[in-house]
């Protein structure tokens, strides 16, 4: 039966009302030559119980970060998610609604998006935010495209400390749209040399991919503006509980990944891209924007606005092709930011930075482990260098104590040698951090001895 409601009798009555004798007759417009003459070659049907058993078996083949001890970050974070989020976003009125094209029946979600936009503006210090993008990487790519549109320039300058996957997505988007992708090391002199009258924007990440805080961000933004380009900052929203809003530092467009704001890691998706900019660029914004207005009786209400930028109205002249975005995840982030509020987000950020520093001190005091960026300020991630191959160490950590010790950086920054990107969030207790440190110390000692 699947999920079909009509009984055989209903179907008969429907056929009679249409005036045909079988469903087959309704398929007449499909030429015989291209009909599928066999059943699809697929498994199933599964009843609900068998489906659950099957899925549980598959889930059991995975090692999840709840049942292991994970120090993985690099764009997807294990931040604490209050229970109310799952309960509230699971409400059918939200979960099973479509894009709010009919505002009278969608006031709930429209108000959510208005509040979401407000919260993103509050966090980033920007004037206007859209109602979400697919993820941090595509939000960054859309920001670059928007900058080329605003400036009429073709070249996008990207710091090499931006998330490597974001850089790949940027390269893909720009390449096929025939814009120019250019990468530069994060040093003032190099950036100054790379900037020119062809530069549409400079994209930097704060804290950068390796976790370090860019101290001279205001100078980089200043140099960018001096050459007539826009400054795009990719930020971690949790870090904004403690770090200055990029708007205060002069950023023109601020984007990032909102997964940390109450969204499950989900093997990397679905995610939440956020996107905010200064007022003067609002007509170039991609995606949906919700605004407040009044109804015929003067009551406050919400509706999608500035619609003439969008694909369903402007078609090939739209500011972006985005249609479906990530509304339910924007709802999750809204609930998260409201529940934590002013003091909660600050506290999370403080917990994170102190635990990360505690872990950093302990890990760097292990013999044979070095700190390649000693003295550089960081938020929740940092790099450690190992005397033995990073992948082997990670394997051993997982085997011994179920620890995912971090991301081996060899594929992304081979110049760092055997290095791990370690992430510590508020979900890790001191005990767990100590266990990681002890295990790593033992593993390194054993493996180094063996190697000798």
């Amino acid at each position: 039966m699947g999920y079909i409601s009509n009984t055989e009798n209903d179907q008969k009555e429907i056929l009679a009302a249409i005036g045909v004798s079988s469903t087959e007759e309704l398929l007449a417009p499909i030429p015989e030559s291209i009909r599928l003459k066999r059943s699809l070659d697929l498994p199933g049907p599964y009843d609900e119980l068998s489906l659950l058993l099957h899925c549980r078996k598959l889930a059991a083949l995975n090692k999840d970060i709840d049942s292991t001890l994970s120090f993985l970050g690099a764009g997807i974070y294990d931040h604490f998610r209050p229970a109310i989020i799952e309960t509230l976003i699971g409400r059918g009125e939200f979960l099973t609604s479509y894009t709010p094209y009919q505002p009278e029946m969608s006031q709930g979600m429209l108000q959510v998006l208005y509040e979401y936009q407000t919260l993103i503006c509050a966090l980033t210090g920007m004037d206007i935010a859209n109602a979400s993008m697919y993820d941090g990487a595509t939000a960054t790519a859309e920001a670059a495209m928007m900058a080329t549109d605003i400036t009429g320039r073709k070249e996008v300058l990207v710091l090499s400390t931006v998330h490597p996957h974001y850089r790949q997505v940027l390269r893909t988007y720009l390449q096929w749209a025939q814009f120019i992708y250019k990468e530069v090391v994060p040093e003032s002199e190099a950036i100054g040399e790379a900037l020119s009258e062809r530069t549409a924007c400079v994209i930097l990440q704060q804290p950068d991919f390796l976790g370090y805080v860019v101290s001279d961000i205001a100078n980089i933004i200043g140099a960018t503006h001096a050459s007539g380009a826009l400054a795009i900052t990719v930020v971690d929203p949790i870090s904004l509980g403690i770090l200055c809003a990029p708007g205060e530092l002069g950023a023109d467009i601020v984007v990032g990944e909102g997964q940390g704001l109450g969204i499950a890691p989900g093997y990397g998706g679905p995610l939440l891209g956020f996107f905010a900019c200064r007022k003067e660029f609002m007509r170039h914004l991609p995606g949906r924007i919700v605004g407040a207005t009044t109804d015929q009786r003067g009551r406050r209400g919400y509706t999608m606005t500035l619609r003439t930028r969008e694909q369903d109205i402007r078609r090939e002249k739209a500011t972006s092709n985005i249609c479906t975005n990530q509304t339910l995840l924007a709802l999750a982030a809204t609930i998260y930011l409201c529940a934590l509020g002013k003091n909660g987000l600050r506290k999370v950020a403080e917990l994170v930075i102190r635990k990360a520093h505690y872990a950093h001190k302990a890990l760097c005091s292990i013999p044979d482990i070095t700190d390649p960026f000693s003295g550089k300020p960081f938020f929740k991630e940092f790099v450690i260098q190992l005397p033995i191959p990073d992948r082997d160490v990670c394997e051993k950590l997982l085997e011994e104590n179920g620890i995912m010790g971090g991301l081996p950086l060899q594929p992304y920054y081979p110049e760092l040698g055997n290095a791990l990107l370690v992430c510590v969030t508020e979900t890790k207790t001191r005990e767990q951090i100590d266990l990681y440190v002890e295990t790593l110390q033992r593993v390194v000692a054993e493996m180094t001895a063996y190697a000798k």
Binding site: G44, L51, N62, K63, D64, E93, T172, E316, C323, A339
Partner: protein, 509 residues
């Protein structure tokens, strides 16, 4: 006749105004219990440059109960499939099975990190690999990627692959993408986003692609044709085989916008019609919840000749001794590159996978048959009361009506009819799309609705048709039963208010 019980549920909560959450804020309130610090209380100024430490954070301060009530009340001011009939054409608003939510929240799926070693995510990779192969089979294609986050993202990917394909053949003149005027707005927007020039072609008198119009614009500049089949009028493009052949003869590729695949499951496959590339909307055809505007899923399937261009990474399977091992292949030199932070919307793909397993081959075909059955039923019941676009004798999974007659007779427009439907407890159909139908009302009932629900909807539509004759003002001023009436959209643009002000909430103001 209509039963008032089916009117929108007017509870006190729905009627009452819910203030922006910022107005509930009171200094010192908090909605979360966080752990105390268990590590040394390092000084912030020793960890961060002083000039970068934030001074203020203008977020609301509300209790957990405030948050729960606020968002519960907002949900009551929102309408979803779980509340009632949602015949929004082109959006395939079918029932979203609850078991999928249970599966997607299993920690063994929800709590996976995309950077964890492949050996520790074999179950997840198996799901992705299996869904790739299921979709290839359903579409009659050779390979599939699940990375696009939504249909439009899939379209954009397809355009990138189209460009890569032509460029690799040394053909850099192909800069035009042909799109029928009945297409979704995302088609031309996606083509333009990839630097192509859009050539729009008018539909024929039967609502399908006019082959002679296509022939006029085909040339050595043609990169691709983007075609929705069944098209947005709910009609099967009966010349599709010829159309594909013509485009191929001109050296172009043919792309299928799969938004309407719900009509074809197990009956016919784009790959067998001649399409080279297509996208699926997992949130339409495969019943993953749309969540008020996403997360969606926009898988793209291709024929063999386009397989090398798929975005990285591709999920692959190999035998290792007795076992099958799944892995992520990044070594694909002809790939167009990466288009998503990680591997697409895994938890959305997981729901679609569960849906396909539940239905199986027979069940999927029944989906399409019943979707077509229900749409034709609505069409048959309403054809005497409204004009049917292009007078087509049969439709596929959706029917496009026109309120042209009502507009001429009493000035009542499609939008008015839609608003009046709300008073009868139904979500309206899609309005003013496709653009080529005046006063369009695009109705897609889907297979999960019962005849009894459709009868109530039909009764409401007939009643509204009567009302347009007897009391047109009642319809023009609708809705009357919703928490708010029609909004001032002009004011929304002119007096732009897109965030709550002031960001700092003043108490007891």
């Amino acid at each position: 006749m209509l039963n008032n019980n089916y009117q929108m549920n007017k509870t006190a909560a729905m009627e009452s105004y819910e203030p922006p959450i910022f107005e509930l804020s009171r200094t010192g309130r908090s909605g979360v219990n966080l752990p105390d610090e268990d590590v040394p209380n390092y000084d912030l100024e020793e960890m961060l440059p002083q000039h970068l430490i934030r001074k203020d954070l203008p977020l609301p301060e509300v209790s957990e109960l405030d948050v729960v009530r606020h968002f519960t009340r907002l949900s009551q001011r929102n309408y979803g499939i779980d509340v009632g009939f949602y015949p929004l054409g082109s959006c395939t608003m079918k029932y979203n099975p609850k078991v999928h939510e249970k599966i997607a929240s299993m920690p063994g799926f929800a709590m996976l990190h995309p950077f964890q070693p492949e050996e520790t995510a074999q179950g997840a990779l198996a799901v992705l690999w299996s869904l790739q192969s299921f979709l290839s089979e359903i579409g009659g294609m050779d390979a599939t990627t699940l990375q696009p986050a939504a249909g439009a993202h899939g379209e954009l990917l397809a355009m990138m692959m189209t460009r890569a394909y032509h460029l690799e053949k040394g053909d850099d003149k192909r800069n035009e993408v042909i799109i029928p005027d009945s297409a979704h707005g995302t088609n031309p927007a996606s083509a333009a986003r990839c630097g192509f020039t859009v050539r729009s072609i008018p539909s024929g008198s039967d609502g399908c692609v006019a082959v002679e119009e296509l022939e006029k614009v085909l040339s050595e500049r043609t990169a691709a044709l983007m075609l929705t089949n069944p098209n947005t009028l709910g009609l099967f493009e009966k010349e599709v085989v010829k159309i594909c052949a013509l485009v191929h003869d001109a050296g172009g590729l043919v792309y299928c916008d799969g938004a309407n695949m719900n009509a074809l499951l197990g009956i016919a496959r784009p790959g067998d019609m001649g399409f080279d590339i297509m996208h699926f909307n997992l949130h339409k055809t495969f019943s993953t919840p749309h969540g008020g505007g996403g997360a969606g899923g926009g898988a793209v399937s291709v024929k063999q000749h386009l397989e090398p261009y798929l975005p990285i990474p591709v999920v692959e399977r190999r035998k290792e001794g007795e076992n099958e091992r799944y892995w992520l292949n990044y070594e694909r030199p002809r790939s167009i590159g990466r288009i998503h932070s990680f591997y697409g919307a895994f938890l959305v793909a997981l729901r679609a996978y569960a849906y396909i397993l539940t239905l199986g081959p027979k069940g999927l075909r029944e989906v399409a048959e019943n979707a077509i059955l229900n749409a034709n039923y609505v069409r048959a019941q309403l054809k005497d009361h409204y004009d049917v676009a292009y007078n087509s004798p049969l439709c596929m999974h959706e029917v496009v009506l026109s309120a042209k007659r009502q507009k001429q007779e009493s000035g009542v427009r499609a939008l008015d009819i839609s608003k009046r439907l709300m008073d009868y407890g139904f979500h309206p159909p899609t309005n003013y799309f496709p653009l080529i139908v005046p006063e369009a009302l695009m109705i897609e009932p889907t297979e999960t609705e019962s005849k009894q629900t459709l009868d109530r909807f039909v009764a409401a539509m007939i009643q509204i048709a009567e009302e347009t004759k007897e009391n047109p003002e009642l319809v023009k001023s609708a809705p009357h039963a919703t928490p708010i009436s029609r909004l001032d959209e002009v004011k929304a643009v002119r007096e732009l208010d897109v965030r709550y002000e002031p960001l700092f909430i003043k108490e007891n103001a």
